[in-house]
């Protein structure tokens, strides 16, 4: 992924980390280019947080090399922290600290800092500037955590599960904020186990499972690389034979779910044409038709044999 002209902002190679008997990371390798949003996608316990914490300098790897903004997080922590902004999976602040005080306190730790007023506006916290941390809602706390990650106007933002525990509307609010990072050409690494988050936000995704990167590329590349095709969901005027439907051109499998036929097809256009011709020949007819493109979830299932939420 790294371009020839500009070195990657993050370079991770052969990263290994063990906690007692548990091997949390088993040789992870990836690179992140300047200005892109990179996603580490995987189920809980896959090794995402361990990876991001090594990049932040919070943990030391057992083996492998890590360079963030050209620095070794284990050895050049102070200098690196000036250039990165990070949001923890759970940000705990004192109950009685006010929003603006938290921003001002943390901004004061850095040589260069962003305007507190700008952060309050940008993260929708202006009306809550005098509110104690304990009185904030979950979404407001998360917005404050993101704002804290931005107090030093960082060139690399590391976000660990930024939308976990939030409802759909709040998640979309956070997505909008992260999309602003990309518009600003600010390099962003986020970990997530939400498929739609990775698909919507990330330029590149590394799917990680049991401490290993099992797939790496743009979301579209990964989906296209998937052996599974689209899902064609068809409601028919009359019941039909699953075995005959499976034999249609470009159809690899067929299931009946609640009276609807689900065909796995690739390429999808060939399969739809074959289905229509078959139904006409059989005196049957289409009542309803839905085509669903494969997702990163399908890629994950295909590669691991498990669904992501099974974890």
């Amino acid at each position: 992924m790294a371009s020839d002209t500009q070195p990657p902002v993050v370079r991770v190679e052969g990263l290994r980390k063990r906690y007692g008997d548990l091997e949390a990371l088993r040789g992870i390798t990836f690179e992140i280019e300047a200005g892109e949003v990179f996603g580490l996608l995987g189920p809980n316990g896959a090794g995402k947080t361990t990876t991001i914490e090594i990049l932040e300098g919070l943990r030391q790897q057992d083996a492998g090399s890590v360079f963030v903004c050209g620095m070794d997080p284990g050895r050049e922590q102070a200098a690196l922290k000036e250039r990165i902004g990070a949001q923890l999976q759970a940000t705990v602040l004192p109950d009685k600290i006010r929003v603006e005080e938290a921003l001002s306190l943390y901004a004061g730790f850095y040589r260069q800092s962003a305007s507190i007023e700008m952060l309050l506006d940008r993260f929708g916290l202006r009306e809550k500037r005098r509110t104690f941390f304990e009185k904030l809602s979950g979404g407001q706390k998360q917005r404050l955590a993101l704002a804290l990650a931005m107090v030093n106007d960082p060139e690399l933002v590391l976000l660990d599960e930024p939308t976990v525990g939030l409802d759909a509307q709040l998640r979309r609010d956070i997505y909008t904020l992260i999309e602003r990072f990309r518009e600003e050409r600010r390099t962003t690494l986020l970990t997530t186990h939400y498929i739609e988050e990775a698909e919507r936000l990330c330029d590149h995704v590394a799917i990680i499972d049991r401490g290993q990167v099992i797939a790496l590329g743009t979301p579209r590349e990964l989906i296209q690389r998937s052996g599974k095709g689209a899902h064609i969901e068809a409601s028919l005027a009359k019941p039909d034979s699953l075995e005959r439907l499976k034999k249609l051109d470009a159809v690899s499998d067929c299931l009946e779910i609640d009276g609807r036929y689900v065909l796995h097809a690739k390429p999808v256009a060939t399969a739809v044409a074959a289905l229509i011709r078959y139904l006409e020949a059989e005196g049957n007819a289409l009542v309803d038709l839905h085509i669903a493109q494969p997702t990163l979830e399908d890629v994950f299932v295909e590669m691991t044999g498990r669904r992501m939420e099974d974890w």
């Binding site: 705990v92 730790f109 850095y110």
Partner: protein, 466 residues
């Protein structure tokens, strides 16, 4: 502003917003003062001076162990430290900020204690406030080190509570914080010489009541400073941001060296120092009932300045004493001196300082003072203060001993004499270091009465340096 100062100021702000923290920081120490001074000292101002050291020490210990120490472990367990860790600040800043916040929170508490003790319990402040501040500062530093060391080696809140309780109760009951040391069995007093709280309590008492100087207690104070420094170093080196990080047994063992200064100090005191006698001597200063009727100056030792027993010298005596009126109503207040008979029990004469205090319409001040300048007689060595016998009319008087060198502190004592004779002690630590030079370096013993307006009289006898 450095990160340590920023975090410290924020910590203080947060304390002021938390009711429980406010209670334990400001109200709880006052409760102890009211119990100690109001119940144990039974209105005896000298006993309040004696109790003041234990009250301040208790507060300092509490803030070190239960405030600073437990707070550090709690922050680590809650995960509050992780957010700080993402910023470019190190363990040193975190430890320093804790120390600074703890100290700055101690200052208003100390001021409150001094204020309440002097106003509500008539505690005479024999020493300069700076001396008191220095003692409190050293104590706070030492016990902050103690609390931070325990916080460094404890992996969980429960573990920290166990360590704290073990040390806390030992210090609470065996170091003079709750039970005066001279009342404890002799072998416990010898053991107490190994306890840091003992150094602080006895230093407070000896300096505030016994007329000793900080320099007299340099060894104890040095032990506190060294242990405080050890504590901070351990807290810095063993600082952990994450609750998952566990401390090694080896590090725990090394951290026990924190108590080395106390071991050395305890051994030295037991081998070379008649410390229990000193403690008893200080204790006797407060345990002497000051309001007792007909009490004589114990042993009548020291150097007699005047007992007013030579009638032929009355004229000369009255020349030596100077009466002056001060304040907005200057010139309207009146004061005079006369020799009266009989004097305090067992003597023939005494000196009566009497007159009238008048105040201006726009002020409640106005005062009359009687001053007795004198030089130290030859042979006046190892002195610790002035004493006199007094009785009066239940007005508030003040006695001061003005030193020959204006850079030295002026000890003062407020007292309310009733119609019975009582002994007034006025410790002056600097007396010990002044060499007699007859004819040079004048000291002044001053008796003063201030508003409200009205007549007054104060009889004094047996004026001595002890």
């Amino acid at each position: 502003m450095t990160p340590a100062i920023r975090i410290a100021l924020m910590t203080i702000k947060l304390v002021t917003r938390t009711k429980v923290a406010l209670f334990f920081t400001f109200i709880f120490p006052l409760l102890f003062l009211f119990v100690y001074a109001g119940i144990f000292a039974r209105g005896n101002p000298e006993a309040v001076v004696y109790m003041f050291g234990p009250v301040v020490t208790l507060n300092i210990m509490g803030s070190g162990f239960w405030g600073l120490g437990m707070q550090s472990v709690m922050y680590r367990e809650r995960g509050s430290l992780r957010r700080y860790r993402l910023a470019p600040i190190g363990p040193g800043s975190m430890v320093l900020s804790s120390l600074l916040a703890n100290y700055l929170l101690q200052l208003p508490t100390l001021a409150l204690l001094v204020f309440c003790a002097t106003v509500f319990f008539r505690m005479p402040l024999h020493i300069h406030l700076l001396t008191l501040l220095i003692l409190a500062t050293i104590g706070t530093f030492a016990f902050a080190g103690f609390g931070l060391t325990i916080a460094s080696v404890a992996n969980t809140m429960q573990e920290a509570q166990v360590y704290n309780n073990v040390v806390w109760f030992a210090l609470l009951f065996l170091s003079g914080v709750t039970v005066p040391l001279p009342l404890l069995p002799h072998w416990i007093q010898r053991f107490a010489a190994f306890l840091p709280a003992t150094y602080l309590v006895t230093s407070f008492q000896a300096v505030m009541l016994g007329g000793q100087s900080l320099f007299d207690h340099r060894a104890e104070l040095l032990a506190l400073l060294v242990s405080g420094t050890f504590g901070l170093l351990f807290a810095w080196k063993l600082f952990r941001w994450e609750k998952e990080e566990k401390i090694s047994t080896r590090a725990k063992v090394v951290s026990i060296s924190f108590i080395a200064p106390f071991l050395v100090m305890g051994l030295w005191m037991n081998a070379h120092n008649n410390f229990t006698a000193t403690w008893s001597q200080t204790f006797s200063l407060m345990s002497r009932p000051p309001m007792g009727p007909g009490e004589r100056a114990s042993g009548a030792g020291g150097i007699l300045l005047d007992d007013f027993e030579k009638p032929d010298e009355v004229e000369l005596l009255l020349k030596n004493w100077q009466v002056s009126t001060e304040g907005n109503a200057a010139g309207r207040s009146l004061g005079e001196l006369e020799v009266i008979s009989p004097g305090a029990e067992g003597t023939g004469n005494a000196l009566r300082f009497k007159g009238h205090v008048e105040t201006a319409p726009d002020s409640d001040r106005g005062s009359v003072a009687a001053r007795y300048p004198f030089t130290l007689p030859a042979g006046a060595t190892s002195l610790r203060g002035a004493q006199l016998e007094a009785r009066g009319d239940n007005r508030l008087f003040q006695v001061r001993l003005i030193p020959p060198d204006p850079t030295l502190p002026t000890p003062s004592l407020r007292f309310v004499p009733d119609s019975e004779w009582q002994v007034i002690h006025l410790p002056a630590a600097w007396l010990r270091n002044i060499k007699p030079a007859p004819g040079k370096g004048t000291l002044v013993l001053e008796l003063r009465v201030e508003g409200p307006p009205g007549d007054f009289h104060l009889d004094i006898d047996e004026v001595r340096l002890y």
